[in-house]
Symmetry: C2
Subunit: 350 residues, 2 copies
DNA sequence: TTGTAAGCGTTATCAA
DNA sequence: TTGATAACGCTTACAA
C-alpha cells in the first residue's frame, strides 16, 4: 500500500533547485520563464506525479473551475431522458474546457435563493446552468442581477440568457404538415402554461393554423399536464366530438402516447384512422405502436451550446446574447405517416 | 445592480467586536465558545449574509466537501434511465449529508488512471462513485489501493466495495416463475460478459434451471449485446428451432423488446403464443405491447445506498463491507402473464 | 472564554 | 529570468 504522498510546490522547488515561484510560472506556462528551466521543472513534476492543490489555487484566483447544473426535483414534468441528454451535452462541453460540473437539485430551499446564492458566495461555483427551469423560478433572475453568470437550457425567464429550441417554428411545421395531408379539423391537447416549451408550442400551433387558413377551435381543444394519463383523459373528451377530428396534435409525447392508448381502446388506429403528432422525440416515441410523429429538439445540443456560452461568459466577463435559438426537426413516423385519403382506404401501415 | 460584496471572516469579527478565531468557533459550532457570544456572532452573520469561503476552508481542512460520480461515456450499453435513476439516488443522499456531487465522464483518458487520480491529488473530491463500471475498469482498484474512498454502484470489481442488486436471486425467481407455468423449453438470449449484472443473471439463469430440474440447452441459447437490434437478431435464430421454445428469457429489456418485435413479425404474440421475460424494468418495459415481464432493480436505491456508505467511509475513515446486496423484484406483466395452458387456448390477454 | 499567531498551498508583486 | 515575500480566507494551537 503506497503511503499517502502529499507533494507541494515546495517539494518540486527543492527537487528542481529553484524557487516556488519559478515552479508556479512553469506550471502556468508563463512567458516569463526560460524554456530550459520550464522543461526541467515540468520533467520533475511529471516524474514525481505532482498535482497542484486546486483549493489553494482557487483561494488565490477566486475561482473554482466548476459550474453547477440545476435540475428539477424528481417527479417533475420532464422525464429522465430530457435531463440526461442535456447533461451529456453540458458535460462534454465543460470537460472539453477543463471545467468540472456539479449537480444541484432545485429544491424549494435551493430556489428560495439562499442556497443558490451560497454556492457563489462560498466560491464553490463559477456559473450556473438551469435545465428545465420553470417560469416561476425567479431566483435565477436575482442571481443574474447580482452579476452571476447564469444561463437557461430550453426555457425563458426575464433577462436571463437562454439557449432554446425553436419550438414556435417547429410547431408551425407540424401544422403545415398536417394541413398538407388535407387535415382541416386538427384537435389540440394542450399542456400546462408553466414551461417555455409549452408556451412556444402553443404559439406555434396557433400561428400554424393561421398560416394554413384554419380557425383555432375551442371545441377541439382539451387540456392535460404533460403526463400520459392526462393525454388519455383529454383524448376521451375529444372522442365525444361529432364529427371526430381527423388529426390530433398533443403538445408532448407522453400526452400523445396516452391519447394513442385511448384511441386504440376506441377502435381507432393512429396513422390509419386518425393522425397523431406529439412533441419532444422522447426515446419512447419510436417504440410505441404505431411509432409517433413528433418534434425533435436535441437536448444534447442545447446543453452543450449553453455550457459553451456560459464558460465564455465566465472567461471573458461578457454576457452572451439573451437568446440563442436552435432548430427543431419534424420527425415523421407512422402515427401520421400516410395521407388522409390513403389512410381512409384502410391501408395497413408498417 | 448591487455591488459585489465580498465579506470575509475579518469583516464579521470587526462588526461583532470579536476576533477572527471567535467567529470561526461560532461558525463551526464549537463547544469552546460562550453561547451569548456565539449567538451574537451568528446574528450578525445572518444579517449581513456572510458565507465562509469554501476554498479557504478546504485548504485548511484538506477536504472538498464533494464526491465525484463517474459515468460511462454516452453510447454505452446502459441507457439513460439507468444513469439518471442512480444519479437521483446519489444526489438525494449526498445533499442530505450536505455534500456536493460532481460528474465525471469515464473517458479513456480518465480511466487510464491519470485523470481519476488527479481529482484526488488536486483535492477536488473526497470520494468516488462509479456507476455502470465495467469489469475492465481497473483504475478503480488502483485508487482503492492508494487508500481513496471508492465505491461501485451495481457492479463488481476486485476488492472495491460495491452496492449491487441481487440479480442471481432475481433470475432464479424468473426461471422458477416460468417453470411454474409449465414451461420446459426456455430459450435464452444472453448479453455480453463485461457487466456484473449480466454475469449474475447468467449465473441465476443456470442455477434456476438446475433448481427446476431443467437442463441448460445450448441449442436454445442465442447471443446479443444488450441492444434492441441484437435481441431482434437473436430471436430470429431461435425461431428456426424445431420445436419452438415456449418461453424466452432475454437478459435485459432492450433485447427482450427486440425479441418481441421479431416474434410479432413471425406472427407470435408474446404472452399468448410464447412467454417473454426481460430484465431491468426499464421505463419502456411497461409501454411496449404487450407490457414486458421483467426483473426490477431499483437504481435509485442502489445509488442512494452507495452514496451513504461512501460518505460514512469518508467521515469515519472506515471502509464499508465489500458487498452490499439489495433485493430485486420480479415484475409480472402481460408478456408472460398467462399460464401456458390457457395461453394455448388462445385467450386474449389485456 | 477569547485573542494572537502560525500555518494550509498557491499566485502575484517587486527586487535583484 | 529568477527568488523572496506578501497576500488569499480560514482553522487551530497556544497564550492570556
Amino acid at each position: 500500500m503506497p503511503r499517502e504522498k502529499k507533494l507541494t510546490i515546495r517539494d518540486i522547488a527543492r527537487l528542481a533547485g529553484v524557487s516556488r515561484s519559478t515552479v508556479s510560472l512553469a506550471i502556468n506556462d508563463s512567458p516569463l520563464i526560460n524554456d530550459r528551466t520550464k522543461a526541467k521543472v515540468l520533467k520533475i513534476i511529471e516524474e514525481v506525479g505532482y498535482r497542484p492543490n486546486a483549493m489553494a489555487r482557487g483561494l488565490v484566483s477566486d475561482t473554482s473551475g466548476a459550474i453547477s447544473v440545476v435540475v428539477p426535483p424528481v417527479g417533475h414534468v420532464f422525464s429522465d431522458w430530457y435531463f440526461a441528454e442535456s447533461l451529456s451535452g453540458i458535460l462534454d462541453a465543460a470537460s472539453a474546457a477543463d471545467f468540472r460540473v456539479a449537480i444541484e437539485i432545485a429544491t424549494e430551499d435551493f430556489k428560495s435563493g439562499r442556497r443558490a446564492v451560497q454556492q457563489f458566495e462560498e466560491r464553490r461555483t463559477d456559473g450556473l446552468l438551469a435545465v428545465g427551469a420553470l417560469v416561476t423560478d425567479d431566483y435565477l433572475e436575482r442571481l443574474l442581477e447580482a452579476g452571476r453568470p447564469v444561463m437557461l437550457v430550453n426555457s425563458e425567464l426575464g433577462r436571463v440568457p437562454a439557449v432554446i429550441a425553436d419550438n414556435v417554428e417547429g410547431t408551425v411545421a407540424i401544422v403545415h404538415h398536417l394541413a398538407s395531408l388535407r387535415h382541416r379539423a386538427i384537435a389540440y391537447i394542450k399542456g400546462l402554461d408553466i414551461t417555455t416549451t409549452g408556451r412556444h408550442r402553443d404559439e406555434g400551433f396557433r400561428k400554424g393554423l393561421q398560416l394554413a387558413g384554419l380557425p383555432f377551435r375551442d371545441d377541439l381543444t382539451a387540456f392535460g399536464d404533460f403526463t400520459e394519463a392526462s393525454g388519455y383523459e383529454a383524448m376521451g373528451q375529444l372522442l365525444d366530438r361529432k364529427p371526430l377530428p381527423t388529426a390530433v396534435f398533443a403538445m408532448n409525447d407522453m400526452m400523445a402516447i396516452g391519447a394513442a392508448r385511448r384511441m386504440k381502446e376506441h377502435g381507432l388506429l393512429p396513422g390509419r384512422d386518425i393522425a397523431l403528432v406529439g412533441g419532444d422525440d422522447a426515446p419512447l416515441a419510436r417504440y410505441v405502436e404505431p411509432p409517433l410523429t413528433t418534434l425533435r429538439q436535441s437536448m444534447y445540443d442545447l446543453g452543450a451550446e449553453a455550457a459553451r456560452l456560459l464558460l465564455k461568459w465566465i472567461r471573458t466577463k461578457q454576457p452572451p446574447p439573451p437568446r440563442t435559438l436552435l432548430h427543431t426537426e419534424l420527425i415523421i413516423r407512422e402515427s401520421c405517416g400516410a395521407r388522409l385519403a390513403s389512410a381512409r382506404r384502410g391501408g395497413q401501415l408498417r
